[in-house]
């Protein structure tokens, strides 16, 4: 019996020994990407291998959760000597990673004229302290979905949206759904309301201006909807909960990202052909705004093959590859010209509307300590939504915490 266990143990240990070093010494570059369910990234890498046989790209598929993938990068960077040459980054990572000195500036390789071909918001989000660290790959921005069969025309102001949401609410249909759980998505949703009121978190000099009257007004509007124009359960919603509710016909309006549009139009969707998109509403006399999301490539400062890494970044963000990623993974292009591309328009008739949203898109507060700022916002926005704090209190407290964080 014991001999038997011993045999198993030994053979298991042997089976587990790492494959002996297969590093052939060639140029290998690595990056972490979300699970490639559409297959677009794999095809880009294949195309690249055909065009540049001398460079091998190793694409590491990470977990679906953005946080987990950020952990993979951060863990590797903190340990020093990161194995990842190319960094596929969410917009909000740029100041954080750049201020740690983990990224190489790309100003020489990606100069002003080259940037002009891209959507302005996406470029702006890649800049930290005057230097550019990111080439945009796919764009993303929040917007308002509305039911064309229920509301005759889309609302334009916050007042109209609230009134319409209350009016269209029935026993089994909520009015307006958004991301109300205490997490990053809540900040994204709130910023659109804040900007639409003409307010902001930080001004151009980095001073906290959240506690101006616009801030309080914005939060009063959003928190006032919960349990009234918006279902009480919205305080637990992330993107998917909101989309499921809207798609099942259980909401008349929704704040969400563009991915939801594609899902709405799939066969079997109860709201197929009944959905319109517009930029988030605004206060009278103010402009609409959208929170910018999206992904782009940076290059690690410790990359062993920075030139090869750049060759790949340039290749992957070229128009043909963005088109491929659009067709396969539904990724929204970051190059302006592609919004007039006949093929893309044929597959995505809503893109002219979407472009309006993307042009109104703004990055979240650009600061090295954005994640602390966001945490303070999340805490007090959530408290206002569940009525633990009044909007005035929540804004006052969040502002004072953020002042402590930015030191101004």
């Amino acid at each position: 019996m014991r001999a038997w266990i011993g045999t198993i143990a030994v053979s298991a240990v042997l089976a587990l020994l790492p494959g002996c070093g297969k590093d052939s010494g060639g140029t290998v570059i690595r990056f972490v990407v979300q699970p490639d369910a559409g297959g677009g990234f794999r095809e880009i890498v294949d195309r690249f291998h055909n065009a540049h046989p001398e460079i091998r790209v190793e694409m590491v598929e990470g977990p679906a959760s953005t946080d987990s993938r950020e952990e993979m990068y951060i863990g590797a960077f903190m340990a020093g000597d990161s194995p990842y040459d190319v960094v596929l980054m969410d917009v909000v990572w740029v100041p954080k990673f750049a201020s740690q000195g983990w990224l190489a500036p790309l100003d020489d390789r990606f100069p002003e004229p080259a940037r002009a071909a891209f959507l302005p918001g996406d470029v702006k989000a890649g800049i930290w302290e005057g230097k550019c660290y990111r080439v945009p790959l796919r764009s993303d921005a929040g917007m308002l979905y509305w039911r064309t069969d229920l509301a005759g025309k889309p609302p334009e102001t916050f007042e109209e949206l609230a009134a319409k949401a209350r009016e269209l609410k029935t026993a089994d249909r909520g009015g307006f759904v958004f991301q109300g759980r205490q997490y990053e998505g809540l900040v994204c949703a709130f910023l659109e309301v804040l900007w639409g009121h003409g307010g902001d978190v930080l001004d151009g000099q980095g001073n906290v201006v959240l506690d101006r009257p616009e801030g309080v007004e914005a939060l009063r509007w959003l928190a006032g909807l919960v349990g009234d124009g918006a279902p009480a359960g919205v305080t637990t919603y992330q993107e998917e909960e909101a989309r499921a509710a809207f798609q099942e016909g259980r909401a008349a309006f929704m704040r969400n990202w563009p991915y939801a549009w594609t899902k709405m139009q799939e066969d079997g969707s109860p709201v197929k052909g009944k959905v319109g998109i517009v930029p988030m509403v605004h206060a009278p006399g103010k402009a609409s705004a959208a929170t910018l999301g999206g992904w782009g490539f940076g290059i690690s400062k410790t990359a062993k093959h920075p030139d090869a890494a750049w060759t790949f970044v340039e290749f992957a963000t070229a128009p043909e590859q963005q088109k491929l990623l659009n067709a396969k993974n539904g990724a929204i292009p970051t190059r302006r010209a592609l919004f007039e591309d006949a093929e893309i328009l044929a597959a995505n008739p809503h893109y002219p509307d979407l472009l309006k949203v993307l042009l109104a898109a703004r990055p979240r507060p650009v600061h090295a300590r954005y994640s602390q700022i966001s945490q303070a916002l999340q805490r007090h926005l959530s408290a206002a939504l569940v009525k633990k704090e009044t909007p005035e209190e929540a804004i006052r407290q969040a502002s004072s915490e953020i002042r402590g964080i930015v030191g101004k």
Binding site: L16, G62, A64, E248, W257
Partner: protein, 272 residues
């Protein structure tokens, strides 16, 4: 009392299996039925699509094999290292044994997430990245405090007279441990093995960061990689299917291990 027994057993089964059963039902629902309000209990049009998708989207059979290897090896290492240590703490009146025991406990206090970066550095220096054995060793190290405490407390409950008799019969300390203490401690070993095995089976953070090559990944990481085409989508149906797939091998293992608890009982009755 006797009549209450079936009721109590039913209550236990309902409590333990209820939420899991809900996952089973969810896993059988096609996409269109998932978000129905009010929810359907029994799927109207049950389908195995979610299961097919799980295996198609990710090499899940491979992940299952990797998890099994890592968990089995780390359980063996843990028990092999913990049993002598626990025995020494429980029986050999070593100087500073109480202190050592408390020090061992202290190592159990640090969550893997905090240890991650230093462990990552250590593993890289040791060349243990992308090695399932490396992960098994880390799991074993993380499990060791619990295993030592667990076995030590059961060894203590074991009557010392039997060991003294064996010593008189000419057994060495190691012989006593192997031939007398361990066989009679089967219930404790089985319980500890089950708990340690499952810990390793479910561990996420270390496996995620240490094993980046897809063919080496374990089940919990694989589940986290189930995804829709976009970042925001959550494939609830597939996740439920993955829950069911992940659990079945563990249930089988537990069914096998739990006999150890019964056997230990009879062994103890005969020898004691």
């Amino acid at each position: 009392m006797r009549r209450l027994l079936p009721v109590a057993v039913a209550a236990l089964a309902l409590f333990s299996a209820g939420p899991f059963l809900w996952s089973v039902l969810t896993s059988l629902k096609p996409a269109g039925e998932l978000f129905r309000v009010p929810p359907t209990w029994i799927p109207r049009s049950p389908s195995l699509d979610n299961y097919r998708d799980v295996f198609e989207q990710r090499p899940f059979a491979r992940y299952l094999l990797n998890s099994l290897l890592v968990a089995a090896v780390s359980t063996l290492i843990t028990l092999a290292a913990a049993a002598p240590a626990a025995y020494a703490l429980a029986r050999l009146r070593l100087r500073g044994a109480a202190l050592a025991e408390k020090a061992i406990l202290a190592f159990a206090l640090f969550p893997p997430a905090v240890l991650l970066v230093p462990l990552f550095v250590a593993a890289r220096e040791a060349g243990a990245l992308n090695s399932r054995l490396g992960v098994a060793l880390v799991h074993a190290a993380l499990n060791l405090p619990f295993a030592v405490w667990s076995l030590a407390s059961f060894f203590r409950a074991f009557p010392a007279e039997l060991e003294d008799a064996a010593r008189v019969d000419g057994f060495s300390r190691a012989g006593v441990l192997l031939r007398v203490v361990l066989p009679v401690s089967a219930p404790a070993l089985a319980a500890t093995a089950i708990l340690v095995f499952i810990f390793s089976w479910n561990e996420f953070v270390i496996s995620l960061t240490f094993l980046t090559r897809d063919e080496l990944r374990t089940v919990p990481v694989g589940v986290a990689m189930l995804s829709g085409v976009t970042v925001y989508e959550i494939p609830w149906g597939q996740i439920s299917a993955a829950v069911v797939i992940t659990t079945l091998p563990v249930v089988a293992a537990v069914l096998a291990f739990q006999r150890g608890i019964v056997r230990g009982l009879s062994a103890g009755a005969v020898k004691g």
